[in-house]
């Protein structure tokens, strides 16, 4: 019932590529079969309808088919990837997992029954509605992971409107709202999902060339990494039409450089959060950070500079944290924005603001400037405690030379002098030799 529209699309496009996995192609006919197969097996498997199921997988033929079958089986699905392996026990407990389905790297499936009964109020409500659900854990780069529970039915609604089908690389992870969105968007338009074994610039570029990828949904951090690596020079990326980016603020310097290197590729900023799903967005222009966000039934408003959103696809709530909704049902995104007519520009997470003696500093604004300095490979800015100014600005910098800290600091101060207010010039600089992103290619800023 919930996925009938997908079955229809699959049977209308039997001869089209649905998936490229480990360089092998799978047609929609195959996917449809696998889907129907798993639906039968689930009925016989002893997994009761409405169970809470952890699906430990990456994008693979069985993972796709099982995800859809679990939705049809009215289960509450918790997608899980090895990137958070150490948190498995914690997630199982928070989400009150009743069954675990694991799919290994050879696409072999195994089942495990966990002896617990999901009785959380929100889970019970959803079970009584007899709707499938989705639980997404926030990445927890700051603090404890929060479990956002969605009713899958309204989430699926927007995919019933047909849009462009594209050959899409699944860069974002299977357990991320962006990854789930890529999956459903591609399948509901009979596009093709192209998977990658690893998410290095080299491997991504190679896959784009080999499988004629048209759409790459990714993050600003990966775009910066791609440009730095120059991996794209060794491969033909002429099939690429669109790169979408969300999840964090894009430094203007990266945006400019991207257009220089990929003049024929359109860039589109998306806006989404685990709690409210992915919004449709329209950038003012391809090289602008200003965008309009909206979509069916989506309303936005700004309260004290913070973006609030009301959408039918919002989660029901957190399983392990108080409700972040206002009394009249708006979700407080925590993202500070600038407004210009209908357009907004995301400045950053409110929680990432550094407060230097009462002056507000946005990490990304400083990273942008330092990133422009020759020799700087990567930079992450955060606030650290200072008894004098409350917090001070600390820049961790990765250089591609053996310049000393003292030489770099001098050069940085001179460079920043006419570009940043004095309180924004990092008071503390650390040189490091590791990159600042995790498996999700989202910048990690650690401070206090």
């Amino acid at each position: 019932m919930f996925t009938d529209f997908l079955s229809d699309i699959f049977s209308d496009n039997r001869e089209k590529d649905a998936l490229v996995w480990q360089d092998r192609k799978y047609l929609y006919a195959f996917l449809l079969n696998a889907f129907q197969d798993w639906r039968k097996k689930l009925d016989e498997s002893g997994i009761a309808k409405n169970s809470v199921v952890l699906l430990e997988a990456d994008f693979s033929p069985n993972a796709l088919a099982l995800m859809l079958s679990l939705i049809e089986h009215e289960c509450i699905v918790v997608p899980f990837t090895t990137s958070v392996k150490s948190k498995k026990a914690e997630f199982c407990e928070i989400a009150q997992i009743e069954h675990i389905i694991s799919i290994d790297e050879n696409d072999m499936v195994s089942f495990e029954k966990i002896y617990s009964q999901a009785d959380h109020d929100l889970l019970r409500q959803l079970k009584e509605r007899r709707h499938p659900g989705l639980i997404l854990f926030s990445s927890g780069s700051t603090g404890k992971s929060k479990a956002a529970l969605h009713d899958f039915a309204p989430l699926l609604e927007k995919f019933k409107i047909r849009r462009n089908a594209m050959r899409t690389l699944t860069f974002l992870l299977f357990d991320h709202i962006g990854g789930i969105n890529t999956l459903l968007h591609t399948l509901s338009n009979a596009g093709c999902i192209v998977t990658v074994q690893d998410r290095s610039p080299e491997s991504v570029c190679k896959t784009i060339e080999k499988h004629k990828v048209q759409l790459l949904p990714t993050s600003p951090t990966f775009i910066a990494l791609l440009l730095l690596s120059e991996a794209y020079r060794n491969y033909d990326s002429s099939s690429l039409e669109l790169v979408t980016y969300g999840t964090e603020v894009m430094p203007e310097s990266t945006l400019k450089k991207f257009h220089e290197c990929f003049p024929n590729v359109r860039l589109l900023q998306t806006y989404g959060l685990s709690e409210i799903g992915i919004m449709r967005s329209k950038s003012e222009s391809s090289n602008s950070l200003w965008m309009k966000i909206g979509g069916q039934g989506i309303q936005t408003r700004i309260a004290e500079g913070i973006l609030q959103i009301k959408t039918p696809s919002a989660m029901l709530g957190y399983l392990n944290a108080p409700s972040p909704f206002t009394q009249d049902g708006w979700f407080d995104t925590g993202d500070k924005v600038e407004v210009n007519g209908d357009y907004i520009r995301i400045l950053g997470r409110e929680s990432e603001i550094i407060n230097v003696g009462g002056e507000k500093v946005w990490p990304v604004e400083i990273e942008e400037v330092i990133q422009m300095m020759p020799g700087v490979e990567d930079v992450a800015v955060c606030g650290v405690k200072s008894p004098i100014t409350g917090q001070m600005v600390q820049a961790s910098v990765k250089l591609n030379s053996d310049e000393t800290l003292s030489d770099f600091r001098k050069r940085m101060r001179t460079f920043c002098k006419d570009k940043l207010a004095s309180f924004k010039i990092p008071q503390k600089v650390i040189l490091t030799d590791h990159a600042f992103h995790g498996g999700r290619f989202k910048k990690m800023r650690i401070g206090n």
């Binding site: 100014t389 001070m392 800290l405 101060r413 008071q427």
Partner: protein, 98 residues
């Protein structure tokens, strides 16, 4: 050691001066006012100087040092008055007298 620390502070002050409108009068040596009465630094510039000194001391003496912390802030007489007072404070810190 005292000389060495004083040199480090003065050299960091000179470096910071390039960024400042109100410059530290490094030609006064140990007597150059920093923060507070007669001082030229605002809080941001002070933090910048102190952190740079911390890092330079770390390089020179191979010892991790936090100059600006609650202890420094609660000294009867501020260690941040002059280049000299800062130098004395740093010496005491290194010797473990504070």
């Amino acid at each position: 050691m005292g000389e060495k620390i004083l040199d480090i502070i003065i050299s960091q002050a000179k470096e910071l001066n390039e960024q400042l409108t109100n410059k530290i009068s490094v030609e006064q040596g140990a007597d150059a006012p920093l923060f507070g009465r007669g001082g030229v630094l605002d809080s941001i510039a002070l933090v910048t100087l102190v952190v740079a000194v911390e890092q330079a001391i770390e390089d020179e003496f191979d010892t991790a040092l936090t100059i600006a912390d609650e202890k420094a802030m609660s000294q009867k007489v501020s260690p941040f008055r002059t280049v000299g007072s800062l130098s004395e404070y740093v010496q005491k810190l290194i010797k473990g007298e504070i």
